[in-house]
Symmetry: C2
């Protein structure tokens, strides 16, 4: 793609204006000029274009300020849609969101990722089609699909670089194949990075904030957002917090590292620890299967919430280990907020939040300089799928860095609308 | 400061062109247009301005390519200068660099940081004056001073937020006071961040690389550079790698964290470990004082180099612990290179490099995606001071983000030239 800076600069201006309108919900041209630093003339021109494209609509008048009443503009939620698909080990979650990122439809089903990708992806495609049909969303208004999962990925070609859950997924072109099946552009990204950016879009994050996200589903991942953009690094495989070592004397992890956080604090570790406590295991009727440990984990978390002292000890220990990793995140990335997202924080989230906050307050190196807040995600269990859909909106509408090779690319046959 | 995007955009264009000329050493207007994506007309105008300001000079013709021979342009090294001051616990290093970052003068002396700042800073100022005089540098061409040190800082007001080495430094306005003494603008920054950016300016780093730096002097710090800019985070107190935990069961560090890297792998830890081995301590005649452990550490490192098995074991263990932290840096920041900088890598650098490379190769999460090289800094022991001077050049000449509150600011009474 040609990368004329002039063209990029026009796109960037448009993206900036759209993003300010989005985050303000409703705003006037005068406020837009103030917020972006652009001239009134430029704002008028860009807004006129956005209205012509149907992305923005005028909506009445702002509160009188003495002068001429100001016409407000806001995003037209029904102008565009995007789809988020989260492929977890056990579950596949699909959401459809409108231009504002608001969820308009959702479905989830079991077992996809354990199938070989040639079978799984057509199934996912048919579920996407069904969901779009149910929600009565015009296909022509769908910008694309954000497919998110865990583990190392090659974002540019849309392949997974992990043999998990099965060898057949390693190197498989998941994004191009799903794009083919659907006739829609697809971008591949990391689930935790998606969860992180979803918070920027839908949560209460300051525009220039640097914040982190710890995402816990089957495993543990992370994302960092700097001024509204995901921190990428050299290959967009960053913030893999589940595989940082918290114990130099710990056991070797299949990933090659020793003492990985995930093996101390993740759901499967907790179930393993609980199974080693016969009374607790019996009391909670734990009977984990290889794929089904999330159910058992939820049972432990619920018991902890209900005051079972052994279950509570386990969850608090897990939270303390996450707390150490949160301190490392905070000391290295200098974040002002850490968001806890994903289904495995759903049940005992308040215990996790309290303990992690405590560790961060006590141990972060620069805690004299500013506090670090630990907060639950506004998108909860579906944070990754919603974030995947948001990445598509952001990629298509508000960012313009065509020279940036590591930004996830929408791959696909169809032109986006 | 007003932040008109138009003004910022002009400055940014100018900064971009300067940076490309700097990194190419000598280049033609046609090559500049190709490298920046700007039009020939814009390049001609910007280069004309830069020549008029004396920053850039024409230097003969490029290799004939068939057509009209191309006039080359390069930075005029003598057009501007900057000063780097590193305040370490034991030593103060001062360097003067020219516009290309090349060192033109250097001095170092002992003990400053152990004095109260009211006495230390005038001493530093007089040494800066003396060095500029010795090097016969025109004061009017000095852009400013980059003052670098360790520990949490408030960059905006130029104060240290650590009571180390003595309580009197905590909250003391070091940058404004040094600026007053010298009549030159002063920016305050982290020593390891400075060392990291120095590598971009003077080393062999690809322009869009994301790389990390581990800096070891008395303590251990870190920096990450993304596409030529220091990763800042919310308050510019980032990548404090010496104070991440590598052992959840480790001892409490005075910083509040447990099992901090520095207490396992830093010079004072090694000397402590060596003192617990009576034969080694005697063989190397170790007699550490509280401030002087770097001499003892250098003796251990030299013995390791010379093949003393016990000394080598100690250094390799330190390197392995640094290796774990390097893996964390790599897994979180997704860097393509890790640079080892600072005086404490000077003696046994090759042992450190080999062991850290080994750990990174074995344990980095995304090692399937791309390799991570571990390399020594081109700026060696003086990397922080040189980097401090480079931060001033970069801040004044090639960056233009006036809206970015966390960028270190030059504070001072004088206008820079």
């Amino acid at each position: 793609m040609a990368t004329s800076p002039l063209w990029a600069s026009r796109l960037k201006t448009r993206g900036l204006v759209l993003d300010v309108i989005r985050s303000a919900r409703a705003t006037s041209r005068v406020e837009l000029a103030a917020a972006t630093g652009l001239t009134g003339a430029t704002i008028s021109e860009v807004v006129r274009e956005l209205i012509a494209d149907g992305l923005v609509v005028e909506v009445g008048r702002g509160a009188p300020t003495g002068g001429k009443p100001r016409t407000l503009v806001q995003l037209n939620p029904q102008a565009r849609y995007s789809v988020g698909v989260q492929l977890e080990r056990n579950t596949c979650v699909i959401v459809v969101v409108d231009l504002t990122g608001r969820q308009v439809a959702r479905t989830s089903f079991q077992g996809t990722a354990m199938m070989p990708p040639e079978r799984a992806l057509p199934l996912v495609a048919s579920q996407v089609e069904a969901l779009l049909a149910t929600a009565a969303v015009d296909r022509g208004k769908v910008l694309g699909v954000g497919l998110v999962g865990y583990g190392p990925q090659d974002r540019r070609v849309g392949t997974l670089l992990t043999p998990q859950p099965t060898e057949e997924w390693l190197g498989y072109p998941v994004a191009p194949r799903l794009a083919e099946s659907l006739g829609l552009p697809v971008l591949l990204d990391n689930d935790a990075a998606a969860a992180a950016i979803g918070e920027y879009w839908l949560g209460a994050v300051a525009p220039r904030s640097t914040y982190g996200c710890i995402y816990m589903a089957t495993g543990i991942g992370g994302g960092v957002v700097v001024a509204g953009e995901v921190y990428r690094g050299s290959s967009s495989n960053s913030v893999e917090i589940g595989h940082i070592s918290i114990d130099v004397n710990g056991e070797e992890c299949p990933c090659g590292n020793v003492g990985c956080l995930e093996n101390y604090a993740g759901p499967s570790a907790l179930v393993r620890q609980a199974m080693a406590m016969p009374e607790l295991a019996q009391r909670l009727a734990l009977a984990p299967t290889d794929d089904g440990f999330l159910t058992e984990f939820a049972r432990i978390a619920a018991a902890a919430n209900a005051g079972d002292p052994e279950a509570r000890d386990l969850v608090e220990r897990s939270a303390r280990h996450l707390g150490y990793a949160a301190v490392t995140m905070s000391t290295l990335f200098d974040v002002d907020t850490i968001v806890l997202a994903g289904p495995s924080f759903a049940v005992a989230g308040s215990i996790y939040q309290a303990v992690i906050q405590q560790e961060v307050d006590r141990r972060t190196f620069a805690r004299r300089v500013h506090p670090v807040r630990v907060v639950p995600s506004v998108n909860g269990s579906d944070a990754a799928a919603i974030g995947g859909a948001v990445l598509v909106l952001q990629s298509e509408l508000t960012l313009a860095h065509p020279q940036d090779g590591v930004r996830p690319l929408l791959v696909g046959t169809g032109e986006s609308p």
